[in-house]
């Protein structure tokens, strides 16, 4: 038994299953982060005092992390493009690079958290810190998820290339779409938490 349209696109929708699936998933992610952003707004509007992010957090570190994440978005799309052009080795190299950039991001994040904890800034300290840790923590989990996916496609998952190159390329594209979304969330988190 074969499930139709796993690789090729269904003519009337122009999409394959995974493509539609990932976008639906992202629609639900929009609602998840949307709810958190709206909580942020509600809490902030009702708060008597609200610190400016850079009074508590380090903007340079976060700016560095922004660059890391944006770069990783480029590497993942390069991985897809390389596969499209038929080169598995280059594709895997870019996947590895993406993974490493994700790791760098997480390490920097860990450093930031650690620093906060050492200076006694815990989530329970204030609403600002509470929402900061919740949002970045949840975002971090998404990064972690992405890293696991890339590690898999770099390693055992890449065997698929030899039997079904097109399917494998699609998978990288889909994983990439997810990764860009994670990047996109960060693009909002950065100003909202660190700058405003």
């Amino acid at each position: 038994m074969q499930i139709p349209f796993t690789v090729e696109a269904r003519p009337d929708t122009g999409l394959n299953n995974a493509k539609l699936g990932i976008w639906l998933f992202l629609a639900s992610e929009v609602m998840l982060f949307g709810a958190l952003f709206s909580s942020y707004i509600l809490l902030r509007v009702n708060a008597d005092v609200w610190p400016k992010g850079h009074e508590i957090l380090s903007v340079p570190v976060a700016a560095f992390n922004t660059v890391v994440l944006i770069s990783s978005s480029v590497t993942v799309i390069m991985a897809w493009a390389s596969l499209k052009m038929g080169s598995l080795s280059k594709g895997r190299m870019y996947l590895l690079l993406t993974f490493v950039l994700g790791l760098v991001f997480m390490c920097v994040k860990a450093y930031e958290y650690n620093h906060k904890f050492h200076t006694g800034l815990f989530p329970s300290e204030s609403t600002f810190l509470a929402i900061y840790f919740t949002l970045t923590g949840l975002h971090g989990l998404h990064v972690l998820g992405g890293m696991i996916v890339f590690a898999y496609f770099w390693g055992p998952g890449s065997k698929m290339w030899h039997s079904e190159p097109e399917h494998f390329t699609n998978r990288i594209e889909v994983a990439g779409v997810y990764w860009h979304f994670v990047d996109l969330v960060w693009i909002f988190l950065f100003p909202v938490l660190y700058l405003l």
Binding site: T13, G14, L15, K19, L20, W23, L24, A27, S28, V30, M31, G34, A35, F37, S38, S39, I41, L42, V45, N46, H54, V59, A63, T66, V67, I70, S71, S73, V74, I77, M78, A81, K84, M85, G86, E173, G176, V177, H180, F181, D183, L184, I187, F188, F190, P191, V192, L195, L196
Partner: protein, 99 residues
């Protein structure tokens, strides 16, 4: 998408361009945040820049610009409910019973 290698190479150049744009915009956000233009304006500027960056990512990296209608419909639906989500809690806290 039956694109040729040439097409892909063209894409790659676009990606690099977007990358550079994103880096520049990141710099701009940070720079602008140190200029005090009034609280509201600062927020608005930062959100607008973030929205531009997000659109770039979505349009080019996520291939949204060449995506099928169905995906647009899904996203429009999510966007509508997202807007609802954004404004109504605030609406509520502004429309409290007062004497």
């Amino acid at each position: 998408m039956g694109e040729s290698v040439e097409d892909i190479k063209k894409h790659v150049r676009v990606y690099i361009g977007v990358f550079v744009a994103l880096l520049v915009l990141t710099g701009v956000t940070i720079g602008v945040s140190y200029i005090d233009m009034g609280h509201g304006v600062n927020i608005a500027v930062a959100i607008v820049i973030a929205a531009i960056k997000a659109s770039l990512v979505a349009a080019y990296f996520m291939h949204l610009i060449s995506e099928k209608k169905l995906i647009y419909y899904t996203l429009i639906l999510a966007a509508i409910f997202f807007v609802g989500l954004m404004f109504l809690p605030v609406g509520h806290s502004l429309d409290e019973i007062r004497i």
